[in-house]
Symmetry: C2
Subunit: 404 residues, 2 copies
């Protein structure tokens, strides 16, 4: 296997990336409070991003989309506790001022600085605190862990990973990443901030395509609550310091790079689903035998996103009819009389007929920390997997007093 | 006003309709248990129905769609506690045997009997009990209340209404209806069974159109949890015993009939939203100034259906950014800089700019039993209203142990 997970790996594991964070009072004061961080590459980077499909886009999203037109960036400023969304012209100015302040600190053109925010919508950023905070942030090559903590909102644990990838010819590159969830998570995409780094030398066109594909198979296949955020951003910076031969479409290392990037994104996406607000279980839904990949994905996401399925999994209630009902309302092609349904390897329905229910065995599967649901449509050969979490009383408790 | 709500009105308020119910052990034994009921008209009826958009349709839905091809029906057998969905060929036989048994009791052709079921999916109907139960049901002209109770599942109160309508020329007709929710409620349509009766003489084509329009403006505008059921059915029987001049498209009473039918459906739909599983508040979302009616409806439903909006309303948290985020992900045409947002008459956002938040006033609106949310898109002239309910811990508690 040419992809190796780096123990303790994070976003600063690839060569030449530094990070750090500080506290400026945006989040409630907890233990070890952090709410403003910076990611910086010592060398100029090729950059690409994928952003929210919501028509209401936060100011930092608009700024990133503009600055990424040239496919270059060298730093990202990220704050949690305030989304800077629905903030009008003032919000846009604040995002720009944030980039300018960081550019001054780092000696960069402001066009090379990206900005990302997450938190409450409809509140203006306290720009003075942001500017002062940027001055205070200390960057270091092992600052990735700190940055992973600084971007958290209702997340209960930081999400970070790095992998080392052998490209052949003795070349090795590293990909690192951090992400945050944990509510307003739904394709496309999620209240999700994901930042990725690599020291690979890579073409901008290929990097953009690889990121899009990785996001489609990972972050766009998780759902926590059906709400798509105004701030979703997945951004990758590639600084080329690994000195490998440029990766391009069709080049020897291309496939390996894509696979590794997908693995990193999948790991982070599953961590987000597992850490969904109030979640106690990870639900994995695979739809097989669909006519197309798009249909397999739609079906899997509809099941993983059903409040009724999620509630039943929470209580380990083998109420499997809800799974079929969710599949049916997804609108994908299906014939009820061909559908098989499994909880792990326990068949609940075969060719549209209910089988006698082994309640005890079903319950034991539903009691697991990871609940595998599998639907075979028996129509075609496409398959896809989606991840979600159970719906608990805790989700409601968290979200009924988020701003109060 | 030519439409008058009948005090104590129900599905047997129109002339010539009888109903009754009994208990056959499908639901858990509570106080006054009822789970099998029959609606019957003394005279032959014109009939129409609207059914679930779910690709997985319960056996009774398929039977109704087949029997309604001739636009005639004279009785409906309804059970709660078992959906007879995902039950294969055996399930279809059970639905047919149910109709045959009722036809025998009532001296009708089985083609004139409709069947509806609600409850757990994937379990076979205990057909012997159903047959014995049908024999036991006593029909009476004031049996509507009993039938309204018999169709309930997790509903906490029966939903029933009747209105008297003056058509002009001294003619008066009556429309009655009953419905049940209360989970798996989402357009199109809901786990919703709705049965309507009228003594109006009416053409089948016009009746079908009037029912479709009324359902679109009512049951298709409520959402409880985003799940569309396998069993949704809204059925109307019209027996003509009011002896009015036949209502047809363009005839003098046509508009009045349509309006009255819509009022009946709106009343029942709002009752379902208010009684959503675990709900403590009714949320009313109006989207104004949309380019088209379809877009206004989509926007209103997306907001009413957002788990984050519903949770915030539950906790009276004025986290209004979630409303705009839900609107943005609905996919309808909008320009953020034109959008105004109101909680009742309190403006939260004007032309895309957040206004200073009067937390106390916002909270007092959110504390009401009915919470009015209004969005002005300022793009066109179409508007629509959707209804939903808050998301409470109780919803999860109900749905995590539904079958256990």
């Amino acid at each position: 296997m040419s992809i190796k997970v780096a123990p303790e790996g994070t976003i600063t594991s690839p060569k030449g990336f530094l990070a750090g964070a500080t506290y400026i009072g945006l989040k409630k004061l907890g233990d070890e409070p952090l709410d403003l961080g910076i990611l910086y590459s010592e060398a100029p980077c090729i950059a690409a991003g994928v952003f929210t499909a919501n028509k209401v886009k936060a100011a930092p999203v608009l700024l990133c989309q503009r600055n990424l037109k040239g496919n270059n960036a060298q730093a990202i400023v990220i704050n949690s506790g305030c989304a800077n969304a629905c903030t009008g012209e003032q919000g846009m100015k604040h995002a720009e001022q944030t980039a300018v302040q960081a550019a001054k600190k780092l000696g960069l053109s402001p066009q090379l600085v990206l900005v990302a925010s997450t938190g409450v919508i409809g509140k203006q950023l306290p720009i003075k605190q942001v500017r002062d905070g940027i001055k205070k942030v200390k960057l270091s090559p092992d600052g990735g862990h700190t940055l992973a903590k600084a971007i958290m909102t209702t997340d209960t644990f930081p999400k970070e990973i790095a992998v080392h990838v052998k490209l052949g010819n003795g070349e090795q590159i590293t990909i690192g990443g951090i992400a945050k969830g944990a509510g307003m998570i739904h394709p496309n995409m999620a209240t999700l901030l994901c930042f990725l780094t690599t020291d690979a030398a890579i073409s901008p066109v290929f990097l953009k395509k690889a990121l899009k594909n990785a996001v489609d198979a990972s972050f766009n296949m998780i759902t926590v609550d059906g709400d798509t955020s105004t701030n979703d951003s997945a951004i990758i910076l590639a600084n080329g310091l690994a000195k490998n031969k440029l990766i391009n479409s069709g080049s020897p290392g291309a496939e390996r790079f894509e696979q590794a990037l997908r693995e990193v994104c999948l790991y982070l996406a599953k961590s987000i689903a597992r850490d969904g607000e109030g979640a106690t279980k990870l639900i994995q839904v695979t739809v097989e035998g669909a006519l197309t990949l798009a249909q397999a994905r739609s079906g899997a996401r509809a099941i993983a996103g059903s409040s009724l399925v999620k509630s039943a999994v929470h209580g380990s209630d083998p109420n499997w009819g809800r799974i079929i009902a969710a599949l049916g309302r997804s609108g994908i092609e299906m014939q009820e009389t061909r559908v098989d349904l499994y909880l792990d390897n326990l068949c609940m329905m075969k060719a549209g007929q209910p089988l006698p229910l082994d309640k005890k065995k079903a319950k034991s599967i539903l009691d697991r920390a990871g609940v595998p649901i599998r639907v075979c449509l028996n129509l075609g050969s496409a398959s896809a997997t989606a991840w979600g979490c159970d719906l608990s009383e805790e989700y409601v408790a968290i979200n009924s007093e988020y701003t109060t």
